[in-house]
Symmetry: C2
Subunit: 219 residues, 2 copies
Amino acid sequence: MTTTSGASGSSRIPIAVLISGNGSNLQSLVDAQEALESYEIVVVISDRPDVQGLDRAHDADIASEVVDWNLFESRVSFSDAICDVAERHGARGLVLAGFMRILSSNAINRFTDAIINVHPSLLPAFPGAHAVENALAYGVATTGITVHFVDEQVDHGPIISQESVMVRPDDDAASLHSRIQHVEHRLLPLAVAAFAQGNLTVDGRHVRWGTSTPETEKR
Amino acid sequence: MTTTSGASGSSRIPIAVLISGNGSNLQSLVDAQEALESYEIVVVISDRPDVQGLDRAHDADIASEVVDWNLFESRVSFSDAICDVAERHGARGLVLAGFMRILSSNAINRFTDAIINVHPSLLPAFPGAHAVENALAYGVATTGITVHFVDEQVDHGPIISQESVMVRPDDDAASLHSRIQHVEHRLLPLAVAAFAQGNLTVDGRHVRWGTSTPETEKR
């Protein structure tokens, strides 16, 4: 829709942010990117037109494209198109920020250990699309959020960070989800920044945080 | 082994504590019972002889009995014997404090909504006998503890309380379990006290905390 605002000349890692809706996690990434000085959102990709997240991209002068799920024959062709757009914009990582589609294995292999998802529960508890509702129905007293690398199983890949959120006696899905999102907006940018700085090392199911050669120096 | 130190004349709710080993959670219940003024441990029941928990009971002048798992033909007969001992001592609730056996449905029905278990993970994540090791193997950044009522499924019943514990990069099972137990020793006595005060109401999978008619006044 718009063109990229340009990562050229920057020492920041270019990332694509994938959205399906209002894009509040996208906004947290936009708001933090100047302060964190490590990643640059080069394109926002939505799986549907006319979502608020696209307006947020426009307002932040970030390129955006729609890869409309409904126009593709298969998950594979849809996922390939997502990766093509991301690579065309120079992205070296994908961030799933409220993105409600499951990417193909092929897509995951094109961005090995470089796709980050945020999920509104403490995985492995409550995977899937209704994590907050399911946690309430189960009757947990503590839930939380998980930021993790994406692997070929849904809501399963190596965990980057987690933080707990207490359930209040009078919580409904909306009130609990609101507090969870508040934490997401803090943790997701920090995880993406650590990835961009080369501070995350994946070793099987474990993610080690620590200083290593920054991705920026590997260019 | 010894005789009960006597709940008669007390307004506290008599409970039985079931153990399988060193009994550190038993010790936390012993240490807190005077301050909490709501429950009284009338008997400690071990599923095996010669465990440290039995010495702790003796030192606290609390009756103890061994119901030796190895001497029973079936889970049902073993569980019946546990309940018989508990009832003979006047117990109105059972607390599973590191007790490694699964009670029969019949036993659970004899103490409906009156059997409390403590589990070293944030259920429903990592049920079973190796919760701490399994959480480490999965690579979680946050785990915790769960205090819950026992139902007929293992590590599944309505949740009374949970608290999170962060996993440190250098944790092994021993170091993580040690920090988890520290939290258990705080949460378990509070949950048992709330039960004894009649402050826990089970509604399906949900446990409501709130003031109701104390169990002591129902006598």
